[in-house]
């Protein structure tokens, strides 16, 4: 099973039927763009794009795909126009300020995305992939120790990708995987949750002092201030777990939303006491 699913994650896509060639103007020379990305839970390189000013939508960078491919629902939502097997857009902007010239794509529900979305595997909802017809217009630098990709336009006239399919017009019979994953998630009662909540706010600047976590300042009016935390307090434990650094505390609270209470063991002078903070809204 897991092999099937893993096979279903490979973003190798062939050009679907009917996508005819069309001339594209060479991209204008422009500076390098820093495009923020994130890795999904499935280790796909994901960027965000606004199509015709709507979105943002989540796209996988996929040299294994012939073109920009997006779900039919998104194509409809952004008002993409049909043009000989392709869909065209007035504007496609990537996060980071990059606008793709003469953008066009293919509206089709890829089985890979269908399956991943049904199970919520990527941790985010995926709306499409960016493939050859977009990627080939740029020299792209990937560096997973950095938070951004670097895109530099290059002068390359991208020909329309050739279509390869087997007799039935299929991509080798893998399409069932998406449906299978949908079926399994329905059977297992899996409802992916793509909702994101802000972590709760303490309102304290932290520092280290000879192996101890120290409150460097307390922001006036913030939750830490209201709960009575003071500058100079040493936080020895949170939720009963001992701490030594700001990172330890960040790690201990990383899953606490607004309104959660956080019990801190605090040493002030020679006294040790427990302070319970109700985490607030802020960052």
């Amino acid at each position: 099973m897991r092999y099937l699913i893993t096979a279903g994650l490979v973003g190798l896509v062939l050009t679907p039927a009917g996508a005819a060639d069309k001339k594209e103007a060479p991209p204008k020379t422009a500076p390098t763009y820093e495009v923020p990305y994130r890795l999904t839970d499935t280790k796909h390189v994901m960027v965000r794009a606004k199509l015709n000013g709507k979105g943002p939508f989540n796209f996988i960078i996929d040299t294994g795909a012939p073109a920009l491919i997006l779900t039919e629902v998104v194509a409809k939502k952004v008002g993409a126009k049909e043009d000989k097997g392709w869909v065209t857009f007035d504007r496609v902007e990537l996060e980071g300020g990059l606008s793709i010239p003469n953008p066009r794509g293919i509206a089709i529900d890829m089985f890979q995305l269908k399956g991943m979305n049904a199970m919520g595997l990527a941790g985010v909802e995926l709306h499409g992939v960016l493939g050859y017809n977009v990627l080939a217009q740029y020299r792209i630098q990937y560096d997973f120790t950095d938070t951004k990709l670097k895109w530099t336009p290059v002068d390359f006239k991208v020909p329309a990708p050739k279509r390869i399919v087997d007799k039935g017009g299929s991509q080798g019979g893998l399409e069932f995987i998406g449906t299978l994953m949908q079926f399994l998630s329905a059977l297992g009662g899996i409802k992916p949750n793509f909702e994101i909540q802000p972590r709760g706010f303490l309102g304290a600047e932290l520092g280290a002092d000879s192996d101890a976590l120290v409150v460097k300042s307390v922001l006036a009016g913030g939750p830490a201030d209201k709960a009575g935390l003071k500058t100079g307090d040493r936080i020895e434990a949170a939720k009963g777990k001992s701490l030594r650094s700001a990172e330890d505390l960040l790690d201990a609270v990383k899953k606490l939303p607004e309104g959660a209470s956080l019990k801190l063991s605090v040493k002030r002078g020679d006294d040790t006491k427990d302070i319970t903070v109700e985490l607030g809204r802020g960052l």
Binding site: L184, N193, I196, G203
Partner: protein
């Protein structure tokens, strides 16, 4: 029923965890190594890959592939089969399990301990049929476990990639991580929302009404003495981007802040009285 299904699916998923870490490939000289590729008419590109000195074989280079794939035929030739782990009971697509390839060489770039799956991917087969005459058969896909180790550039115009080891280790246990992800999604039918955790203290309160569909989020309050106040953010500002990331919703703003480490100055673009203003904020250690 649910539980039975989850258990059935979860059990095999557990196997194959806890394996040795990939070693990052770090060499003293950091000159980028170039690798030429063949761009084929379908818009894909092919690289020459040697597996433990065997080959070279044609593989498709696929940034959209979380795993590296090798055909059973080539795996046998390169003597990888005996070492395969987690061989499935019913080998669909000729699956022979996973291997860690000691020397995975793309062009002149040699990576150590690259994990790969052995299987006959039907799409790879189709490609092979299409391109066999001109390039020879196609024997798999180069995916994330290889390229994650490098600072990599891809240039279609020059038909060339370049690689410099980056020291990134997150490509290590991709397969195990994937299995974990699959298992997590199966084990809970009511997954909790994710929490976006800023990596530093900003001293800022944001809000946005549900009916507000315009770009950006509102600054509700700036806490005196905090990094945001110091940078000149004001209540009433509309935050459009944080470090280049769109902040069109509260979750987006927190997600953007999760990428900004304490002490790292980043651009924050706000709309203030109709004009865009670019400020620089360096969040501090804290929360």
């Amino acid at each position: 029923m649910k539980r039975i299904l989850a258990a059935l699916l979860a059990l095999p998923l557990l196997a194959g965890f806890a394996r040795a870490e990939d070693k990052p490939v770090l060499k003293a000289d950091s000159k980028p190594q170039a690798v030429k590729f063949d761009l084929v008419p379908s818009g894909h590109f092919i690289v020459k890959v040697k597996l433990n000195g065997h080959g070279p074989y044609n593989l498709i280079f696929d940034t959209g592939a979380p795993s590296t794939l090798i055909t059973p035929k080539v795996a046998r030739e390169a003597k990888l089969i005996d070492k395969a782990k987690d061989r499935p009971l019913i080998p669909i697509f000729g699956m022979e399990g996973q291997v860690k390839i000691k020397e995975f060489q793309v062009g002149d770039v040699v990576a150590e301990d690259v994990s790969a799956m052995i299987l006959d991917h039907p799409t790879v087969k189709l490609f092979s049929k299409e391109y066999e005459k001109k390039y020879g058969s196609i024997e798999g896909i180069v995916g994330f476990p290889f390229f994650a180790k490098y600072k990599m550039t891809v240039d279609y115009a020059a038909k060339e990639m370049t690689f410099v080891p980056s020291g990134y280790k997150g490509g290590t246990d991709v397969m195990a991580d994937l299995m974990q992800t699959v298992m997590n999604s199966m084990s809970s039918s009511k997954p909790q929302p994710r929490i976006a955790a800023p990596a530093g203290l900003w001293g800022l309160e944001l809000d946005k009404l549900a009916a507000d569909e315009a770009e950006g989020v509102n600054v509700k309050a700036v806490l005196p003495g905090g990094p945001a106040a110091e940078a000149g953010l004001k209540a009433g500002d509309r935050v459009l981007t944080i470090d280049g990331r769109w902040t069109d919703s509260i979750p987006d703003a927190y997600t953007a802040a999760s990428f900004v480490k304490a002490g790292q100055p980043v651009a924050v673009v706000v709309k203030r009285s109709g004009k865009e203003v670019k400020l620089t904020v360096a969040p501090r250690p804290g929360l």
